[in-house]
Every structure is written in structure tokens, then in C-alpha cells.
Amino acid sequence: MSLHNLDNLYRQTIMAYAQHPHNYKPMLETESYHIRKYNPNCGDIIDLAFNMNDDKVTNIHFYGDGCAISKASASMMTDLVSGKNRSQITQLVEQFSKMARGEDGDFKSLGEAQILSGVTKFPTRVKCATLAWHALDELLAIEK
């Protein structure tokens, strides 16, 4: 039985987030920042939204149909960036991209999301992990 290989990807923490995602709720349509992103490879959809108060991200949440990896990743990301400012978040997004590309580095700032580095061993699933982060990156690029 080689399903134990899956433990490298579906770590306990990841599965816990996937089963009980954080900040997972439908869009209110009143958020000042909202984006819908598709993963063209698989059809997954994610809605990501937040407000900006005093250059700080508040009330960030996501919704959509996604696999365990994408839900866990979005959960960890929303927890991580909540209350942080634009430049702090931009750095975190860069760190996460670097980690997902399999590059070396110190990714302590990513906190729990570091556990998603296991995805580099499953190249076809990297996009599942990065979808929410790409959505966030695009939203941050919008100047309001």
C-alpha cells in the first residue's frame, strides 16, 4: 500500500484545514476588494475578498469549489495575512511563490503555510496550492 506517500502532501494540518476551512464563507458583495479566479487546468474556482482599513487587510475570506490542497492553502493564507499591510503581504506572497517553485530559503514568515512545501513533490498539484495566493497578488496590485 503506497498511500502513505500521500502523507507528504496531505499532512494532518492540511487535512484539518480542508475539512474545517478558516475564513470560508460566501461573498457579501460589499467588500472593497473581490476577485474570482479559475484554475484553467482543473476548473477550480475561488472567490477571495477583503476590506482595507488603514492600509490593513480586514475581513478576508474565500469561497469556492476546490480540492483539499486549495482549501487548506486559502485557509492558511487568509489567517496569515489578516491584519497585515500591503507591503508585508506582498513579501509573504513572494515567499510563498518561491517555496512553491521549490527554491531554497527561509520560509518561517509563512508560519503554518510552510507545510505546503510538500506540494513541490507533486508537480501537477502546485497550482492547487498557489491559486489563492495568485488571487491575493492580483487584488493587491489594484490601487484604490
Binding site: M1, L9, N41, G43, D65, C67
Partner: protein, 389 residues
């Protein structure tokens, strides 16, 4: 390894691989050009492949068989040549909700360019085509009806002959996308009465990069070439040129000679088995697999629920494991399936889902493989359904 992704592409028999090697080692030359024996051998092999395909699909004339890069190129040619010349503002193109993107987007582009309307035939609850709706949506404005012969998701085989009759009554032409049917059942383009039929070599044991566009002679002969260059010309002047007769008028440049020869070898392989036998064997696999898949707790199978009306393409979801997670887990066990939207986003929206797992069977799959697959699915469900707190 268990390969269950045959709707994406098939594995290749040794005879097909050997035919490619043999061509490159012994007969390699350009076709329709050289005044020497080697070129004649290459030309003969290339044109023999056309004859094999003609017999395979029961075309009336060999000139009706054009080599293309695959189904996608065949359909794009039709939209950019026949479509561009015959579709005007206000005309209608009728397709269905179960089409692959390659039988949607070329028509969308054409419709946008000329101001035509693209309409979709509805599906019934069991995923089959709603023929009453097809009838209602056809009018004298309808100029093209283009529908897949077999769905790459729903396991549905469409009644192309009936649709062709309806289309012709309204003066429209009938195009069938045969990518998922030509590999799996006997094809008779004359009996179906289609004007065009497109399919790919690589899904029917042949090489990638080679496919077919069949066109009824009378329609094809009036159609302009999609590309211009060598091989397709007759006489080139400074300002104008005349073209070769069918089929070469459509085959500009050096064609995929090895690919055509490889496809010919694949046709030989399938013909040796017999297409009715291929279909019967796959049907026996479906009758074995479908009830077992349906018995998995929490499973939803899309398309017809009885194996009698279901082809070797079985798309499903588990309520507790997302399609991609399931596909990754199956891959860890050496079982290759597809997960995703299968290039049918309008269909996925129609079914209100983002993705499915898809098992697609072919002649080399076995009941033992299906047993193992069902067994592993049970273990994967246990793996994912533990409580991770």
C-alpha cells in the same frame, strides 16, 4: 500501471511504433515531389494510409479524406473556411451543451466575427441529447449543426444520423466530432449522412499530430483551402495561383508523413480485431465497471445510469473526496485517471460542478484492473475520511 485515461489519449501497439521507425529508417523522403524511388515509396505509404482511413470510415471516395493535425485542427479549418464563406450575420450555428471546447470556441469566434448566433441543444436529465429541443432550435436560419458523436464526459453516444436528417431538412450542414467515437465503434459516414466528420489518430492507437477531416465530396470540393504553400498548388503566377484537386489542395506543405503511416498501422490493428468486436468488448467492461462504481457509497455518476446506454467513458464524483485529491491518490497507486473539467466548461456549468474524476476504458483494459480500481477507491475514501483535527 493501470491506464484509465484513454479519452485523453491511447497507448500505442508495437506495430504502430514499428511503422514509424520503419518509415524513418527505410522509406524517409518527401511525398509527391521526388522523381526517385525513395520518394515514390514514401508517397505510396502515405496515400495507402488514406485508403485505409477511407475504408475505416466507409467514405465513398478517397478524395474525401484529408490529413490534419487532429480533431481540433479539422474543426478549426471548418470554422475558418466553410464557416467564414457561408455564415452571414443573423445565421445560426447549433451545437450542444456536451461539446468539447474544440467544438465550441471555433464557432464562437466565427459567430463573433460575422455576427451569427451560436445556440446550444439542451440535455435531458440522464445526459442524453434532447432531440425535441434540437428540432425546436433548428430553423431556416440554421446553417451549421456541429455535435459530438460521443461525449468525452457523459458516456453518451449521440444519434448523428437523426440530427443529420433534421439539419438537412433545414438546409444546414451536419458536422460530427468523432474524436471519442472513431476509436471505439464502427464508423460509416455515408450511413450517418454527415457532411463532415473529424477525428484524431492518437486516441485510436495512432501517433499524436495526425488526424482526419472527412468531407462529403460535393461540399468539400467547393471549400477553400485553409492553408497555402507547397504540395497544394498547381500553377503559381506572380499574382495568382491555381490549386491541386482534392485531397491535396488541403494539404499545404510537407505533411505529417510518418503520422499518416502510423495512423494507417493503427487502422490495420483495429480492423484486424474488428470494430464491432472492439465495441462489444468495451461494452462488456462498462457493464462490469458501471454497477461497481455506482455501488460506492456517496458516488454520483454523470450521464446515463444504465451500462447499456453508457460508453467506456465514466465520469463521477465522490461526496467526500474532491476529484483532484482522488486522482492524486489513485496515481500514487499506479492508476491513471483524469480529473478536472475535461475541456468541457459549459457542460460542467450545465451540471453545476467544477470537476469530475473520469475513467475511460479501451481494448487493453481488463476486469481485473476494474476490480483493483474499486478496491483502491475504498481505501482512498478511508484515508480521506478520517477525522483530522
Amino acid at each position: 500501471m493501470i491506464y484509465f485515461d484513454n479519452a485523453a489519449t491511447s497507448q500505442k501497439p508495437q506495430s504502430v511504433i514499428d511503422s514509424l521507425v520503419d518509415y524513418y529508417q527505410n522509406d524517409n523522403a518527401n511525398v509527391h515531389r521526388g522523381i526517385y524511388e525513395l520518394s515514390e515509396r514514401a508517397t505510396n505509404a502515405y496515400e495507402q494510409a488514406r485508403d485505409k482511413v477511407q475504408n475505416f470510415i466507409h467514405a465513398k471516395k478517397r478524395e474525401e479524406v484529408l490529413f490534419t493535425r487532429g480533431t481540433t485542427e479539422s474543426l478549426n479549418w471548418l470554422a475558418s473556411t466553410y464557416g467564414a464563406e457561408n455564415i452571414k450575420q443573423g445565421d445560426e450555428i447549433l451545437i450542444s451543451y456536451m461539446e468539447h471546447h474544440s467544438n465550441i470556441v471555433p464557432w464562437q469566434q466565427l459567430a463573433q466575427r460575422v455576427g451569427a448566433n451560436l445556440k446550444y441543444i439542451n440535455l435531458k436529465a440522464d445526459g442524453t441529447l434532447d432531440l425535441t429541443d434540437a428540432e425546436e432550435k433548428m430553423s431556416d436560419k440554421t446553417k451549421i449543426v456541429s455535435v459530438t458523436h460521443a461525449s468525452n464526459v457523459l458516456g453518451v453516444v449521440n444519434p448523428i444520423k437523426e440530427l443529420a436528417q433534421m439539419a438537412h431538412e433545414h438546409g444546414a450542414i451536419m458536422i460530427a466530432d468523432g474524436a471519442q467515437s472513431a476509436p471505439h465503434m464502427a464508423i460509416d459516414v455515408q450511413d450517418m449522412d454527415v457532411d463532415f466528420f473529424a477525428f484524431s489518430g492518437h486516441k485510436m492507437l495512432g501517433p499524436t499530430g495526425i488526424g482526419i477531416l472527412y468531407g462529403r465530396y460535393e461540399v468539400l470540393n467547393k471549400m477553400s483551402p485553409a492553408q497555402f504553400g507547397g504540395e497544394m498548388i498547381e500553377l503559381v503566377d506572380l499574382q495568382e495561383a491555381t490549386f491541386q484537386p482534392l485531397p491535396w489542395r488541403f494539404e499545404a506543405g510537407t505533411p505529417n508523413i510518418a503520422g499518416a503511416i502510423g495512423l494507417g498501422a493503427a487502422v490495420d490493428y483495429l480492423t484486424n480485431i474488428g470494430m464491432p468486436e472492439v465495441e462489444a468488448y468495451e461494452q462488456s467492461l462498462v457493464s462490469y465497471a458501471l454497477p461497481k462504481i455506482k455501488k460506492i457509497p456517496g458516488v454520483t455518476v454523470y450521464g446515463p445510469q444504465d451500462s447499456e446506454h453508457h460508453s467506456g467513458v465514466i465520469a463521477f464524483n465522490l461526496d467526500s473526496v474532491h476529484a483532484h485529491d482522488l486522482a492524486t491518490a489513485l496515481d500514487q497507486e499506479g492508476i491513471e485517471v483524469r480529473a478536472g473539467h475535461h475541456c468541457t466548461q459549459p457542460l460542467m456549468r450545465h451540471l453545476d460542478i467544477a470537476a469530475t474524476v473520469r475513467v475511460s476504458l479501451y481494448i487493453y483494459n481488463t476486469r481485473e484492473e476494474i476490480d483493483h480500481f474499486i478496491d483502491i477507491i475504498g481505501k482512498i475514501k478511508e484515508y480521506f475520511n478520517r477525522e483530522f483535527a
